[in-house]
Symmetry: C2
Subunit: 228 residues, 2 copies
DNA sequence: AAGTGCAGTAATGTATACAATTCGGCCTGC
DNA sequence: GCAGGCCGAATTGTATACATTACTGCACTT
């Protein structure tokens, strides 16, 4: 477990640590996140753990079931589609803005991100590669100088990682860095329209790589299903 | 205060209650939300109040200052612009989808919303009118059957209410229901393109009615300003 | 008189103890 | 043999007590 007892953990840092673990698929969907267990792992009390779990539940990365506990979320097929529809609304035009505001240091950060992503993939660390891939998308929103939209994209990217964990079809991997390279070129040329279009197809490719056939998942619990 | 001791308050219901109070301008920006004070008002312990305040801080309706407490957020001019830029990305195309999926019961709900909004305004209850105006926008996302985007819009609408509290220019009021009526007509005709366009201009009008001249707000605290 | 240092106070941050609820196993009865 | 109900264990939900931090006022120094 991550919980080295050296650090002074706060609810925020614990939440960030857990989010990264989820994002990197070290904590797969449906994993039970017991408060006592986590508290012991991090060397803190349940109070702080609870705050972290609640924070993650607000980002839909964790599902809180009353009197049952916290579990890594399992996005439904429906939710998976919605997440990518939301990304399709936000990211292309954000990429457009980013291209227009692009600077040399920003380009350097994007290149560095791709390099690290590539390295992680070479090292066979798929989880880390996936996380870094998300960082690339986040960095674009940061460059576009839209912190509000950045926060939304951050949530959506993390949730996408859960979706990939559940619905990823082909393990063929190179497609990601390829698309990011293409985006980088558009950014280098400050070509907003191209960046917007590339981001749009990149997201469509992502959805296409998923197996989102509706399998009519049984209600997880009758209680839930009968609520209304 | 709202805290009637009849109800069994949970952190979620307290958060919802506070959010509504903020949305209706009963709790203006910068209001101190003391844990003890709220706990006493609702007849619950600080633990539950804290959870509610944390939830609201995740929606950027409340600012948590470490060891200082919780305050109703005061969006900056910058943040105000960002909120409406995000809405401009999300809402027009959501309105488009809504128009295409429109049903008679959904239309009835929209009409009812407008009626109530109008009634509240006639009654001089500006806060409630503002809240209902937000409900209209939310209902559209609900009709579009996009719960993920709906959650984002819900947050943005509530934050918009804070922005209006801070930067509203003219008290002239009728503009809101007017725009909503126009949208309703587009919905009645299932005209997605028109709805999208009307929503776009409606949001632009809203921004235009604000006074977002940059006044270079002084750093709220030197500590914050010098953090990096 | 202005600014600095110090201590008191009041609030939040954290941990722990108790209460409530859920689920699992077992047992009984038909 | 199976369905239904009861009881127990485990885990979360809530409240309270303690620790920590930041601000406020006052006295003191220069």
């Amino acid at each position: 477990m991550t919980g080295l007892d050296l650090k002074q953990w706060t609810s925020d840092s614990v939440a960030a640590d857990l989010e990264r673990a989820i994002h990197e698929h070290r904590l797969p969907p449906a994993t039970k996140l017991g408060e006592d267990e986590l508290g012991e792992a991090y060397g803190i009390s349940r109070t702080t753990v609870r705050a972290a779990l609640h924070a993650l539940s607000h980002r839909r990365l964790v599902e809180l079931k009353r009197n049952r506990g916290a579990f890594v979320a399992q996005p439904s097929v429906r939710e998976a589609r919605e997440v990518f529809e939301a990304r399709a609304l936000l990211e292309p035009r954000t990429a457009h803005s980013a291209a227009e505001r692009m600077t040399e240091p920003a380009l350097a950060r994007l290149r560095e991100s791709i390099v690290q992503e590539h390295a992680a993939m070479q090292a066979g660390d798929d989880g880390r590669a996936l996380f870094l891939s998300g960082q690339f998308h986040l960095e674009i929103a940061r460059i576009a100088d839209q912190t509000t939209i950045e926060a939304f994209i951050s949530e959506l990217v993390s949730r996408s990682s859960l979706i990939i964990a559940l619905y990823w079809r082909r393990r063929a991997a190179l497609c990601e860095t390829q698309a990011h390279h293409a985006l980088l070129e558009a950014f280098e040329q400050r070509d907003g329209a191209a960046a917007e279009q590339l981001m749009k197809s990149h997201l469509l490719d992502l959805v296409a790589s998923l197996d989102l056939r509706n399998v009519a998942e049984p209600a997880t619990s009758l209680r839930e299903a009968l609520k209304k």
